[in-house]
Amino acid sequence: MERKHIKSTVILAFVTLLIFVVSGAAAWYSYHKNNADKTAYIYHGDELLYTIDLNAVTEPYTIEINTEDGSNTVEVHSGAIGVTDADCPDRICVDTGFIGDGAMPVICVPHRLMIVVRDRGGDVDVQI
């Protein structure tokens, strides 16, 4: 009985370790995925607001996004995009910083805002 208990604990410990390693690798991929044709898509909920070719940007500019949920200031640079100011309570969207490479979107949960950068040209666009 006691032996069986220890065995199950060891198995579960290995399962935990496996999940840890696999998710770590998945996280690494999400942050380091290479985007050649960087195109940013800005969504409010399921509505597409802007489509921006980031490689074509020469001078950085800002976009003010005002919706019924609140306002976010989006800064567009050559090859990168990010939220620089927001009147949401947690401001995690600002802390996320700029994205260019990687698959992780910038999300402002309280304002239902999402910015995605992906490869427009390639067929490698991974959408599960």
Partner: protein, 172 residues
Amino acid sequence: MSMCRYEFRSKTQRLCVLALMTAFALIIFTVEAQIPLPVHVQGLKIGLANVITLYMLCAFSPLDAFAVLAMRIILGGIFAGQAVSFIYSLCGGVLAFAVMAVFLKLSKGRNIWFAGVLGAIFHNIGQISAAVVIYRTFYVVYYLGVLTFFAVITGLLTGITAQLLAGRKFRL
């Protein structure tokens, strides 16, 4: 078996214990929201209030545990005052609860620490599912990797805490 189970002797006692546990969970929930995290990832939190849910599942019945969880989510939502966070909290909380309850049933109350890990992981899966519905896109699924990575750490923390707590004998 090192786990201690309790039976309520009266309706009044049940009411008092559930109210006390809800208060504990709410305090932990509120205090945790004030703790700054070293990493800023959307949806990431320690989930310390899950210690109470896990302990309730071990020491009392799943129904009592669910009552405390539901009250904590509803009252916590009112305190935080954000409708959107409430939806995420609800989806994550209910899914995590179901998975933890099934695991503890199957393991006969052993390896509580692993129920903590499962709870943390499935809390994220529930939240991301809610985000998929809200944004109607699968891009948010990319958050699953990093959130699961941190869920293993926070889940071990809450799971081991709950396991130590469940081994203690309290006077009811």
